[in-house]
Amino acid sequence: MQSPLRLERRLTQPKWLNWGVPLLSLLGALILGGIVLLATGKNPFSVYARIIERGFASTDAFSRTLISATPFAFTGLAASVAFRMGLINIGGEGQLYLGAIGAAFAGIAFQDQPTAVIIATMIIFGMLFGGAWAAIVGILKAKFSTNEIITSLMLNYVAAIFLDYLIFNSNSYWRDPKSYGFPTGKRLVENAYWYDISIGPIAIPFGFVVAVFVAVIVWFLYSRTRFGYEVGVIASSPSAARYAGIRARWKIITVMALSGALAGLGGASDVGDFRHVLDAKGVQISGYGYTGIVVAALARLNPLSAIFVAVFIGGLSNAGYALQGPDFPSGLVGTLQGLILFTAVAGEILTRYRIKRQNTIADGAIV
């Protein structure tokens, strides 16, 4: 039997959809989550109040949310710039590792320089390493038409093994020869730590400020320049792009490298802002790169929205840990978080399609 409802592509997208749909999605998630919570004997209102309190509402909670949001912002931006051209870069994870490796190298090699020089070189090396790693995927796709989903994903595993090798299985430049017992990376000198920028009581990690700055640049690049226009043409119609004389191959390599450089910047921030060491295990457990894909999807590939979504997910993740405990299993936390993300993505469809009632006569005729 045919469904009485069907989806129809919207020819025009009214402006209110841009804020109306996300709000309605969130409301839907809260209602669905509320049902789950009631079914498990929890008071939805107190749970939601705690999520808001521990994720967003107080200044110190918000500062902590920004810490969690920073890596998501970079990987979200990285995924967005690639997806905008239809390049499905799943390799943000590995590109972030490489960025961390590059930044840790710069942080160790230039440790006698002034802080500004160290931070600048860490950013440059992080972007170079991440960008070069992603460029491998771009070149393979441009020259041999390999599927970038597979190559970028596979390179994540290679990057993880390389990272392990540097810290656990070799006397590499990154490994601390004095780390007796457990193998660790060389710690950065305190002079190389990226500092927080305080706005009133809120401490903003330097990396987050960089992410916002980068988001603005990417937004400008994609919506106000010839480069961005051409990327848009390639994404919507490769053959039209060819007729127009756009060199798609170069664009593929450039955009992949750009995407990787942004993920690599996330790795640099991970070393400079937070860990102050190339932490081979810790960075792998965290899975920032994969979360970045969710961020990009929720932000509808808009670089400015990606920042807000990263903050939202960062807060949601922190609040999730705050909720957890003997009477609140982490599975329930995951269910709530999943519901919120799921309805957000599902709601996104409604901005592009609308629901139409089927013709009832036709419906009856088929039965």
């Binding site: 521990r54 110190d60 902590r64 810490i67 969690s68 392990d164 656990f168 299985n169 070799s170 006397n171 004095k178 007796y180 017992g181 457990f182 193998p183 991970d270 937070f274 860990r275 932490d279 295990k281 810790g282 960075v283 457990i285 965290s286 899975g287 922190n318 840990y321 705050a322 957890q324 405990g325 003997p326 982490s330």
Partner: protein, 406 residues
């Protein structure tokens, strides 16, 4: 190096305390004034400071008052890197928490946070826990250590307890135990299971002294009953990753090992061993029921009693930081129930060896102990000191695989 310094300080602290006590017996306890190195006389029978078998306060440490001043229930929290149902490490730590809650009832409110990734998230979680009023916080993953140190500095009135680390702080203790002794006992079961002169596989996490001395203990157990057997190790570079652990186990099994052991947090090695019906020595938890046909035994921990004692000390205002290294004598370590494959003869041998190690921890390392390269590391008749055990960074003869790059 840090580890060496730690040992040096612990040993000096112990020496100072015993010197000050004037040859006292093991029941007498150092009190705060002694730790403070003042010349006041010793306290009487009741101590003002936490004491416990196999616990040595850090030198110069002072009592930290971390119970709520108003006498309300103390809040304590545990932070885990894995899930509480991992079938190993985290699960046994959570059992310790449940034990504390059960014994102390409404005097304590315990909570936990699981699946916390190493890195900035740990400090965020601690901030939240402190905000919720938790004043005793346990950390159970080596990779949490930096975050714990930073938080201990940030919250001097919160008592931190850290498992398997090495750093010391006035409000941060270290606790762990001599699993090299129980791994030795489990090695006997593996050595008896495998035919003479065959290969035995080990799936091991990181090539660090803590794991290496356990591995060596295990191999000595194997050699006790099967002197010509050799041991092959795969290093996984992870504490908990069922997929990687299983792959490592499968690679050993396909290379022809006749028994297998894992020092990992999950039972994945057992699952691989079960497919081929190979005897398995587990770690951390008793899997004798789920894997009975292949199960041999396992080295296990009982975290609860120490954790309970420390929380009671906090409630009584006697908490002090120090180094706890439990052993068979206080039942911190033990071995799990035997599986169907273990013969009575083996059980008897393990029982008698257990008695020997209970009286003399680390007796299995009585020299001569020869490293892989043939150098004698522990001289004939000698038993390694605590410091030598803590810094054991060589594999003994009988292990055929090399250590990863040091």
């Amino acid at each position: 190096m840090k580890k060496f310094l730690k040992i040096a300080t612990v040993v000096t602290a112990a020496a100072l305390i015993f010197a000050a006590c004037g040859g006292s017996d093991e029941d007498s306890a150092p009190d705060t004034t002694m730790a403070g190195a003042t010349d006041t006389t010793m306290a009487g029978e009741t101590s003002d400071v936490f004491t416990f078998t196999n616990f040595t306060p850090f030198e110069g440490g002072t009592v930290v008052k971390c119970a709520p001043a108003d006498g309300s229930a103390l809040k304590a929290a545990w932070i885990y890197v894995g899930p509480i149902n991992d079938g190993g490490w985290t699960q046994t730590h959570n059992a310790g928490r449940e034990y504390v809650q059960e014994i102390l009832g409404d005097k304590v409110i315990t909570t936990y946070k699981e699946n916390v990734p190493e890195g900035p998230q740990v400090e965020i979680v601690i901030d939240d826990l402190v905000k919720d009023g938790n004043t005793v916080i346990f950390g159970t993953s080596f990779g949490f250590q930096d975050a714990f140190l930073a938080s201990a500095a940030k919250y001097p009135d919160v008592c931190f307890e850290f498992a398997t680390g090495y750093t010391q702080k006035n409000n941060m203790s270290q606790f762990y135990g001599a699993s090299e002794d129980t791994k030795y006992l489990s090695g006997i079961a593996a050595g008896a299971e495998a035919p003479e002169g065959s290969e035995i596989g080990v799936v091991a996490p990181f090539a660090i002294p803590e794991v290496i001395r356990g591995l060596n203990g295990f191999v000595l157990g194997v050699q006790k009953v099967n002197p010509t057997a050799t041991v092959k190790v795969v290093w996984t570079n992870t504490w908990f990753d069922p997929a990687i652990e299983r792959k490592a186990a499968e690679s050993l099994i396909s290379a022809g090992v006749k028994a297998i052991a894992s020092f990992q947090d999950s039972p994945a090695t057992g699952e691989a061993a079960k497919v081929k019906g190979i005897g398995w020595v587990g770690y951390d938890s008793d899997q004798s029921e789920a894997f009975n046909d292949i199960w041999l035994t396992a080295s296990t921990y009982d975290w609860g009693p120490y954790e309970l004692a420390k929380i009671e000390a906090a409630i009584e205002g006697k908490w002090i930081s120090g180094d706890y290294y439990g052993n068979l004598s206080d039942n911190f370590i033990s071995i799990a129930n035997y599986g169907a494959k273990v013969t009575q003869e083996t059980k008897d041998l393990i029982a008698s060896e257990r008695e020997r190690l209970t009286a003399n921890p680390a007796a299995q390392f009585t020299g001569p102990i020869t490293a892989q390269d043939g150098t004698v590391k522990i001289a004939e008749g000698a038993i390694p000191s605590y410091g030598e055990l803590m810094s054991m960074d060589y594999q003994i003869k009988g292990i055929t695989t090399d250590l990863p790059q040091k």
